[in-house]
Amino acid sequence: MISRVSYPNPVLGNPGDYEKEALFTFKSFTWFIENDGVSLEVPLPSINDQKLNGYFQNNEASLYLKIISPSSYFSKIIELRYDEFIEGIFKITFPIGELNKKIFFSFYLATNQTLTLEPELLSTNFPSSFPALKSDIIAKSPQWSELIDHEWDPKKSNSVSFMAVTFHIDEKEKETSVDFGRDRIMIQLPKSSYDEYIHFGESKADIIHSGIVFPVLIQAVNYVINSENNSSDEFSEKTWFQRLNQLIFDQSQELENLTPLEIAQKILKDPMKRGISYLTISDKDAESEEDY
């Protein structure tokens, strides 16, 4: 929900100031995480109030990017003038480390000179024109977030590298439990089971994915999807949550509309089938061993 802020003038994006159909948004943003820094490509904004859009295109108003990276104690406001967009794109590069982990960004449109504004989609609660001083905010976008994860590439890394199998510190604990309250999801096995687990090699990955990781991933996906409709997303600051969120919503549109079970299936590349195949091969191996 966007909260209302008191500005000297009506602001597109401030609830109640403009008609509901008035828009100030962007088609998409493109991020490049490279070795020497992070680049952001900003497309031209979509402003459907033609008068406001005209002020921007005539350089009577500028776009401002406000970007915040809490994990690196970094924030900055950058001016993006219409005539500095090249083929509809404004590219900004941030030196390595300025943006790190979950970052937040939003845009403002503000006047470069004193103007009398006559927006087309202004709410009828206001007079049809009003004066604005230099540097007055006249539109603001929602705030978006992005995960700038220098340690993890969802296209290359192991898709479940945000999970870890470990053991209960209390040796009396005899049941497996899952702790979602840390940066990695911790699947905590009883100590005796864990001691057996650590001897499994890569060859057991299929059955481990099927029997251990898969059910936990379904639950984790559930948390991520439900947080979209729930303000009490208690795990949203956790690394596992942000990485999974990126996998589901940012990286692959094919996952967005699936159920948690289907998403987990896709991420783990059908673990149930792989589990069955593993067991079938194990059975065959056992039979062939008996033959000898």
Partner: protein
């Protein structure tokens, strides 16, 4: 000089879990007080390219002066990039091994050892809070956020000073200042952060008010000024911003 080895993520996690789940808090405290440095197994460690003169640093770390300690840690790790500075494993290793004596002296365990260990030896809460609480990472970040700002931002050239750590000293000498800067969104902006410290310094020299009170009141003014006037402030020269806030404070009971 030795090449530093840092603990693996799994070790970082298991240390945190052990502290959280350790049943006898008194015994936990004893383990930390009596230890002369945690011994990590080779399998728990990863080599890095970081070279540190541990003895030299330890001889200069001063549990009674955060500014002295901050300057020595920042100077020793000046070339650390921001990605590595956000790596909790590095700071946890330094707290538990190389600089353990300093951490013990600076943050005595007293009545709430678990909470102190979790926040000062390890990491607790969101990153913004956690990195300014951990006993060693807070010293580095304090240096990084305040050292020679005129070299990083040309509009701050008018604040150039013979002491490269002028603002580090101002911030680290007052716990409330440190809190007000690192806990607030505008504290992430180099210009606003330095303007805040400069304004604080000017007013505290001219008025007889407690540093804690002044920091608290000034941070409210900065928050008020910066939230609504994001663009206006972006265009305002730092010097004008400092004078603007100074003028505002003259109308208030500061």
């Amino acid at each position: 000089m030795e090449n530093l080895k840092v603990i693996r993520t799994s070790k970082q996690e298991s240390l945190t879990r052990e502290v959280e789940l350790f049943k006898d808090e008194k015994q936990l405290a004893q383990n930390y007080i009596n230890s002369e440095g945690f011994i990590f197994e080779e399998a728990d460690l990863i080599p890095t390219n970081l070279k540190l003169d541990i003895e030299e640093i330890n001889s200069k770390l001063n549990p009674k002066s955060d500014s002295e300690s901050s300057i020595i840690i920042y100077e020793s790790l000046k070339n650390l990039n921001l990605i590595n500075a956000s790596d909790k494993r590095l700071w946890t290793t330094l707290c538990h091994k190389q600089f353990m004596n300093y951490v013990q002296d600076r943050w005595p365990l007293k009545d709430t050892p678990r909470s102190i260990i979790l926040s000062r030896w390890l990491f607790n809460g969101t990153d913004r809070t956690a990195f300014t609480r951990n006993a060693i990472s807070r010293l580095w970040w304090a240096g990084h956020l305040t050292a020679e700002p005129w070299k990083k931002e040309p509009s701050l050239e008018f604040l150039k000073n013979d002491d490269p750590y002028k603002y580090t000293r101002i911030m680290t000498d007052v716990a409330q200042l440190w809190f007000d800067i690192t806990e607030r969104e505008w504290g992430g902006n180099l210009i606003y952060r330095i303007c805040f410290l400069e304004t604080f310094d000017r007013i505290s020299k001219s008025k007889n008010v407690s540093a804690t009170f002044l920091s608290r009141e000034l941070s409210k003014i900065f928050t008020g000024v910066l939230v609504a006037d994001v663009v206006l402030v972006a265009h305002k020269e730092p010097q004008a911003l400092i004078e603007y806030v100074e003028e505002l404070t003259s109308y208030l009971e500061i």
